[in-house]
Symmetry: D2
Subunit: 365 residues, 4 copies
C-alpha cells in the first residue's frame, strides 16, 4: 500500500537505501518444495552488478546475496524468503553538496516535498541500487516458472542514445557490456567513450521477452497481464515509456493487418505481444521500454537550492552515464515477477489446469 | 485480486457484461461530505456514449447512471457508492457466429482458454462498454480533486490512423466528434468515411493530462505515480503503449537537456511529464497512449474455430471503426482515479499537509 | 481498504443502506463453470429474512435476489457476480427522532464522529440489514465448497439471554424460529414473549461449524484460518466475543488434556476446533460467538443529543428484541466465505492438490 | 496475501524461523520525520524475551534489534524500516525426534499437510519466537501513537490455569514475572513450580487495553476496529478466544444495561470495550484473550508418526510451561499495530481531523 511491495500472491517487499547498511527483500508466497540456494540467484545479480565495465558506475559492490529464511535443507518451505545484500562500498562524502540543491530530472525535489526530509546519500531510496533485490527475487521466480512451464526470459539492448542496434542473435547478449544482440559493438564503445568524456548522459531502449508463457494468465479488466507489465516496467528507475507488441506502431496499422491470425500451426504474427484482452495468448510476451538519460551528470545545470533560490548544480561521485545499460536483467526480473504472480492467481481461480482448451502453438517474432 | 477492482483507498469494483442486464461499479473510500448527484456524473458518460456520430458504434445506449447507495441528502456519506447503468440496446443475435470462431486480435481466444467458457454477446466482459462505469467513477474523483486541489483533467486526440493532428487549443476538443484540439476536422472526416467504407479499422493516439496536481503524490519504489498511470492506461481496452512526458523521445536525449530545471518561476520544461522518481513534481501530468485498431471488422480474416480447424471470420454487428475515438474521456477518468488514490494514500502517511516544502510553480508544456 | 470488501481471492464488495433503494454485493473471483441461479441463493436469504415470526423485526422484506452479472447460460463465467436486493419496506419517518440523540450501545455516535454526517434511517450502513448480501454471497461459496470438497456448514442457537439451550440434534434447527437444536422451544417462546413486553432486549450465543473442510487451509503467521474466522465473526453486527474449539475453557485446561491426539481412526477430541497453528487439521471447524443485546429498545435511556446536552432516548420503530436470533445463517455464510477464500489461496500456492500427505480421518465432536 | 504481512497502511512483513540465522520484519508506511532508534524498540523486546525467569523457556536470546533501513540521521524517512534480530541460541539437535511424530495440539501436523515439508527445528515458522519482530514493530507504532494522540497501551495477566488473578494496580505489572497486576504473586509461583515439576502445561487469560484512542477509527462493515482486533489477537500463537468489552457476558445482559450511556462527563460504563458499530468511541479499548496450554510437554501422549502409524510422543527441549506468560507484550504490540493502521486509514479518507464533532470524554473501567 505504501509502495514497497510488488505482487500479490508472489509478493516481494523491498527495503534499504543506497548507502545504508544493507538492502534486500522478503518474498512471500513462493510455492514450497522447490530446491533453492544462493547459487540460483547470484548469476542474475552479477549481470546487474556495478563496476563491471568502464561504461557503468565504478562503485564496487559484490552484491553477495544471503538467504535468511524460508529455505530448509535446500528447499523452499512456503514461508517468507528473506534475501539480504550488504552494502560495502558506500562513499557518502561524495554526496554532501547534493543535499542542498536539486538535480534537474532527479527525485531529490519530489522526495523532499513528499516526506519533508530525505536521505541524500547516493539517492537514498530513489537509487537504482534498489533494483538489486528485485533481480534476486526475479531469479527465484524464473527458476519456478522454468521448472513448471519451461518459461524462458530474455532481454537485450535495442538503442543507446542515437545509436539504434539491430538484432542478430540472443547469443551475443552475454558477450558484450551493453547486452547488445550483435557481434560487433565497437560503434557503441566509441559512442559511450565520447559521452563519458563530455560529462553528459544518454537514454536507452530495451527489449525484454518471455517465451513458453502459459495461456490464460491475466485478468479481463484491471490487473490485465499487459497492464501489470506496464506497471512493472514504468516502475523501473528512469523508464518513461512502455510498449507491448506493436506498441505505438499500432496507431497507424489497420485492423486487417494488426490482428494476429491463429492457425493450427500457431499465430501468423505477434503484434499482440502475447496478450489479448489482458490475458496471455501463448505467443511470446514482447515488451519494449524507453529509459531516460541519467540525471546525475558532470555538466553544470541551472536549478534552485532547498531555500528556493537560483543555483547551479554539478554532480560528482560515481554514476552510470547510461543507466539503461544495466537495465536488461532488471527488466527481465520484473517481467518474471509479473508472470509468476499471474500464474499463481490463475491457479487460485482455475486450479492447476493450464489452458483447458486446445492451444494454438505459439508463433515467434 | 481477481482483477475487477481498481485502486486501493478509492477503490472501484466494476461489474457487468456488454449484453447483460446492467453494468456498474461500487466506489469504496470516497471521502464523506461531498455534494454528489447523478448530474455530476452524467456529462462525462455522455462524452463517452456510443451512437453520437457516424464515426462510432451505432448501438443506442442512454448510459443513464443511477446512484444506489453512499449518498444521503445529496452528500457522500463515506460508505460505498454503487453506480448502476442499465443496458438497453442489446442485440445478442448479431453475435451468434462469433461464438464458434476466434477474431484475430480479439480476447475471444484467451477468454475461452482461461475460463473454459465465455459470454460471446458483444464481447461479454471484454467489451469496451465496461469502461462506462469507470468514466462514472472518474467523474466522482474529478469532482473531489477539483474542489480540494483545483486539479483539472483534459484529453485530446493526437493521431487517427495515419493522420497526425496538431495542437491548436483545448477549446476545440468538445466541438468535434474526434476530441481533436483543432478547428478544422474535415481531413479526419474524409479519412474516417473512407475507412468505414473499406470495412477496416484503424488505431489512434491520445494525449491526456492533469494540471494543478499536488506535489508529493506517489511512492518511491513500486506504486510510483507513473507506474500506476501506466497500469491504468495499459488496462484500457486496446491500448498497446504508454508514454510519460518525453516518453520514447527520451532515448535519444542527453541528460543535459532532458532534466527540467526548476527555477523560482517554475520548471523550465516538462520532459518529466510531472513525475520524478515516481512522485508528482507539481508539473502537469502528461501522458500519451497508443490504441490499436478494432479487431471486430468486416474484412474477412484467416483464423481457426473452437475445434482448432482453419476457418474464416467476418464480424458483423455494430462496432467502432476506431475505438480510440471514444477513449479520451476514458483516459481522463482513469488518470483521475490514479491521482485521487495517491492523494488519499499520501494523506494516510503524511497527513493533510500537501507539499511541506516551498513549491516551484508548475511549468506548462 | 475502506472496509467494504470481504476476502481477497473470493472478494465480496458490499454496498447499500437499510433504507436506500437497494443493497447488494459484487463477488469477484468465483471460479468459472459452476451452475448458478437465484434458486441457489434464495433459501439462505429466506432463513435470514425479517418478519418471519413475532420474535424478530416486523419489517416486511422479500429479500428477492437478482443476479446482474457474472453468469452466462446458467454458469459462472469467472467474472464479477453482482447480486442485487431491492429494499421495499422502508419507513423512514420512524427514525426522525433518532437523528438528534445517540442510542447507548449504538453506532449512531461513532458514525457521526467518523464521517461528520450519517444516514439515520434504519441505522443506515450500520444496520444488520447489510448482512443479507453476505448471506447471498455465502450461498455461492457454500455451493462451490460442497461440490468441490463436500464441505457442509451448520449453525444453531446455544443460549438466548439467560436461557442456555442444550444440543439434541441438527434436525430440529429448521423447525423452530430460534434455530435451536432442540425439539421443545416453549421455554424460549415464553422468555421472548416476556422480553418483548418489557420493551427490553437480550443477547445470544451461537454455534457455527463446518465439516469436511480440506486439510491445509490457512497460513502460519497472519491470515491464520482461525484469525480470519475471528475477524469474520467479530465483524457481524453486535458480536462481542469469538471462540474457536475449547475457547475460553482452554485457559484452565492442561496441555496433557487439551491437545487432540491424532490416531489412525481420527483425532480423539476436538479442542482445537479444527485449526492447529492457523491451518485446518481436517477436524470440524467449531466456532462460538457472543451477541450483545439490541441497542434499539423501548426502555428510556440516559444519553446526550448531538449538541452534547443531556437527553433521554426511546427507540420506536421495528427492531429485533434479540438480534442473535437471525444470526445463525449469517455466521454460517461468513464462515463459508472464510473457508472458500483460504481454499483458493491454498490452491494458488500449492496447486490443486489438497492434503499431499496421508490424512488422519476427522474426529467429530 | 500469503499470510506474512500484517496491516495495510502500516504494513509489517515478518520473516524467519525459530532456528534459522535471523528473524525480523519490514515496516512499510511509517510516517516520516519521527525520531527513532533501537533504544525505542529494545525495552518491549526485553519484556518478551525468553530466559528471564524459571517460569519461561530457558533458551537464551538477547533479541538485540538492528535497524537496517528507513531511518536517516535518527529520523524515519517514510521508506521501509527493516528490523533484524539474529538468532543466537539454536540447539537444533533437541528437535530430531519431533520430525517423525506429531505433537497433539501442535502445528506439526498441519504444516506437513499444507506444504508437504516442514522445518521441525523449534517449530520453524510456527514458533512463538516469530512474535518478537511484531513486538519490535509494535514499539514503533506505540511511539507514533503516543506522540500523535497520547495513546497508551497496557496489558496484564488475568488468570493462569485455574488461578484467577484480581486487579489491584497497573503498577505491579512490571514487578513480577507473570505480568500480574497484584502485589503478591506467591500463589502463582507455587502453582507454576508444581506445574513444571509435573511435566505438564497450562493456559492463561490476558487483558490488554488502550486509552486515549482517537474517536472514529474503524470501518462500518468489514475491517471493523473490533474485527481487526479479533483477527490480530486470534493470530497470536495459542489464542483460542477473544472478547471485546463485556464479551461473552453480554449474552445474558439486557439492552437496558449493556448500552453505555454517553453523558457530558463521559460514558457511564464500558461494556462496548471502546467500539460501537466497528468504530472507536473514545472509551478505552478493552480486550481479553484465552491462551491454550503449550503443546510441547514432557508428559507422554498418544499420537501417530508421519507414516500414519500409532506412536507415543514426549517433547524434550526448552519450552514455556505456560506460553501465556510472555503474551502480554505481544498482545499490546498487536493492538498497537491495529490502532495505527486504522489511524492512517482514517486519515486517508477523512484527512488529519480527528473527531469532527464534540467528543464525549472517555469513561474508564
Amino acid at each position: 500500500m505504501s509502495g514497497n511491495t510488488f505482487g500479490t500472491l508472489f509478493a516481494v517487499t523491498n527495503f534499504g537505501e543506497s548507502h545504508g547498511p544493507a538492502i534486500g527483500c522478503v518474498i512471500d508466497g513462493c510455492p514450497p518444495g522447490m530446491p533453492l540456494s544462493e547459487a540460483d540467484i547470484q548469476p542474475d545479480l552479477d549481470r546487474r552488478r556495478p563496476g563491471t565495465s568502464r561504461y557503468v558506475t565504478q562503485r564496487q559492490e559484490e552484491d553477495k546475496v544471503e538467504i535468511l529464511s524460508g529455505v530448509f535443507e535446500g528447499h523452499t518451505t512456503g514461508t517468507p524468503i528473506c534475501l539480504l545484500i550488504r552494502n560495502t562500498d558506500q562513499r557518502s562524502k561524495d554526496y554532501s553538496d547534493i543535499a542542498k540543491t536539486f538535480r534537474p530530472g532527479h527525485a531529490d525535489y519530489t522526495y523532499l516535498q513528499k516526506y519533508g526530509l530525505r536521505d541524500p546519500r547516493g539517492g537514498g531510496r530513489a537509487s537504482a541500487r534498489l533494483t538489486a533485490p528485485m533481480v534476486a527475487a526475479g531469479a527465484v521466480a524464473k527458476k519456478w516458472l522454468a521448472q513448471k512451464y519451461g518459461t524462458v526470459f530474455r532481454g537485450c539492448m535495442q538503442q543507446i542514445g542515437d545509436v539504434a542496434i539491430g538484432f542478430e542473435s540472443w547469443e551475443h547478449v552475454p558477450h558484450n557490456p551493453f547486452f547488445a544482440p550483435v557481434a560487433d559493438v565497437s560503434q557503441l564503445e566509441t559512442y559511450m567513450d565520447a559521452l563519458r568524456k563530455s560529462g553528459d548522459s544518454c537514454g536507452a531502449r530495451i527489449r525484454v521477452m518471455a517465451s513458453s508463457v502459459p495461456v490464460g494468465l491475466g485478468a479481463p479488466l484491471f490487473d490485465k497481464l499487459d497492464a501489470d507489465i506496464a506497471y512493472a516496467m514504468m516502475g523501473i528507475n528512469a523508464v518513461k515509456g512502455v510498449e507491448i507488441g506493436a506498441g505505438f506502431a499500432s496507431v497507424a496499422q489497420r485492423g486487417s493487418t494488426h490482428g494476429d491470425s491463429p492457425t493450427p500451426e500457431g499465430f501468423r504474427t505477434n503484434n499482440a505481444g502475447g496478450v489479448l484482452g489482458g490475458i496471455s495468448s501463448g505467443q511470446d510476451l514482447e515488451v519494449s521500454i524507453a529509459i531516460k538519460p541519467t540525471s546525475s551528470i558532470l555538466t553544470p545545470r541551472e536549478t534552485i537550492d532547498i531555500t528556493g533560490q537560483p543555483a547551479e548544480v554539478v554532480t560528482k561521485g560515481r554514476h552510470d552515464p547510461c543507466v539503461g545499460i544495466r537495465a536488461t536483467p532488471i527488466a527481465e526480473a520484473m517481467l518474471a515477477l509479473v508472470v509468476i504472480d499471474h500464474a499463481l492467481r490463475h491457479r487460485a481461480q482455475n486450479g492447476d489446469v493450464v489452458a483447458p482448451v486446445a492451444v494454438v502453438p505459439a508463433a515467434r517474432l
